[in-house]
Amino acid sequence: MSHRVVITGLGIVSSIGVGKEAFWENCLQGISGIKPIQRFDVSSYRSQLGAQLTEIDFKAFIKPVNLRRMDRIGKIVVSSVRLAIDDSGLNLKEEDSSRIGISIGTGLGSSDTVDQFFRSLLKDGPIGAAPLLFQTAVPNAITSHCAIEYGIKGVNITFSHKESSTEMAMTFAYHLLKEGRADVIFAGGGDELSEPLYHVYSMLGALSPGRGKGSEGMRPFDQDRNGIVLGEGSGIIVLETLEHAEKRGAKIYAEMAGAGLSGSTDGLLRYDLKGDSIARAMSLAAKELRTVDYISAAANSTPDLDRAETIAVKKVFGERIKEISVSSLKSIIGEFDGSGGIRVGGVALTLNHGIIPPTIGTEHLDPECDFNVVLGQLKKKEIRSALLNSASNGGSNISLWFKAYREGNIEE
């Protein structure tokens, strides 16, 4: 028996707001989280920008005694789980904890903690190795913090695969819920913009403005796009079986109705150059292509990905492309491996409210990217179903499909 899966809560910690209301309001106004980086010294880098979180009082979400064992990314993700639980109205004490799960994606997890740990090792040798740092430095520490904090004893998993990390986490959660192996799974994840991570991205040539003469900025689909601007944050989606949601009278944002996965093999740091794999992922995810009215793009202001995604969308939708609106939330929150949780939050809100947030920063649309990009201003539109795309440099392409949920929707 296949269960329907719905979204019943959103927990968002973003550079444009903590909590879904603040996030959404700023999103719709096209307010960007991208600013000159403040938290560490970037004066020796060509790239100066990032979408960083403002100072957050984590005590508002987590007891001080528990905060002490978490690192910053741990606090960020745990807080987003707290927000998600509150938004969903779930009372975890009344639930069977073995039927509540958590599925997290993070590209680089506790990069800052690992770096601190390593530097202590370099400085003082083995006696410099701090056990309390190490235990929070492992890639699944974030997930463990969440499970311990909220007594989540069901499925527990962490994925780390670059820009499709959280989308994989949501795919796995979706499948398990469809199979009835859990009632609720908190799915999504996040990443932190740490100094060592910034250094790595810069040295690998990923950051705008790259080596050319152009200016630095995040401008998806722009003809002068020249690389990414990093961001940070966490998004947790409460995925729940429809029965469980209806039984407790939960508010339902949208339905999660499909996931498509495809791999491209163009090279180790290369996106899907021809767009075939992204196209395949979309086709596998959206069982009713004719109802897709909106695509939350993977486009991240890189020459390759934005072009490939355009080709893929055209390939899948053909003539219908005139009727589909496209927007890249990464223009607002920056690009980071764990951005999918927040972006799915955005899709859920779009489906629920019938409003598409704008893509900002883009000034001259690339003639090759000739589809309906929502630019500069929000667009009101009733959306029947939406696709969220993700594509990793290296070739993991995952698309998720969401349907608008209206009371009394009949399963087709």
């Binding site: 904890s97 740990f117 390593f118 083995p126 190490f134 492992v138 463990s144 093999t265 995952i398």
Partner: protein
Amino acid sequence: MRKRVVITGLGVVSAVGNNLPEFWNSLIEGKDGTKEITVFDPSAYRTKIAAEVSHLDPEAHFAKKEIRRLSRCDRFGLIAFREAWESARLNQDSHDKEKVGVILGAGSGGILSVEKYFRDFYQGQKKSSPSLLISYSLATTTDHIAIESGLKGPRSTTATVCSSSSASVGVSYEMIQMGLADVMVTGGSDSLCEVSFSGFSSLKLVDPESCKPFDKRRQGLVIGEGAGILILEELEHALKREAPIHAEFLGYGICADAYHLTAPEPNGEGVERVIRIALAQAGLSPEEVDTINAHGTATPFNDIAETRGIKRVFGERAKEIPISGIKSMIGHCLGSAGGIEAVATVLALEMGIIPPTIHYEVPDPLCDLNYTPNQSIKKDVRVALSNSFAFGGNNVCLVFGKYLNGK
């Protein structure tokens, strides 16, 4: 309707053997892979040993310029993958590449390369190439394998450290159930690095002498490394191409203790739950389990919790189930432990031999099950479990069954 999934390829690199025959022979002979560390300078550490991979010449497997681009973790993964892929005959048989995916488990991944870069960087020397930083992401080994063979199915990487490459097997199984793949390359790869080694040492979880699972004198892990790759294949697809079938994958369980960041829930409650979930998915009762490949890290806490958990599931019968603690030989291979141990579990089913738990001399009254001490035993087994428990109380249990023609 659940699809049946079988194992059609196996590949391994480990401290006791750099290919499947070497590995298996060492296991059944009770060979210890522990040796003095050479991957980094261990002189400042109390413990100077690890189950390090040795006698592996990269130039026998890769061109010189390739070697520079590959981390130690990548190399292990690729070597084990090639062995599995070729033994499955997938290098010969036609297949739809869009339905062959790769989902591996990772631990620290290529962090050894990243350590090299940052060591130079922080010491003010700029001599290391930024290309070492390609290994910063845990996706790298997974991508290398997929790109090498042009595999265009689902692609991802699990990152739950000690249970990572068991979790990846479960996730890969689901990709086949979802109809997204006919074949999945899974398991995982991991390499020694200073960060992991010093981290576990600082937590006082490392034994300076040897890994003695379930023994009263045990003091903890011997860190290991390597790769264990399994090819999972939908049964009809395998039968159609007359693929070699090693065993059947029957199901898995994943759950959490939600108890502590590093210590397991002491009463084995999480262990019990995960085994029951796995058996339920496999449609089996506890009576049908013939052998268990234990997590058996030889930490004071794990071995007790695991023993208690096993007893909670199997009751009186627990004492009759031969248990293998092969970390006594291959070390705790962290991100690749699940994969390598899954390979061993499949071989135990196929060969009808249970590998031993070596270094077992002083029984612990709190660990009073049959751990197949020191010598392998011949036993016709039909159902085998493989346990992997990670930091944070992430528990995974895999269920394998002997593949009987037509059953």
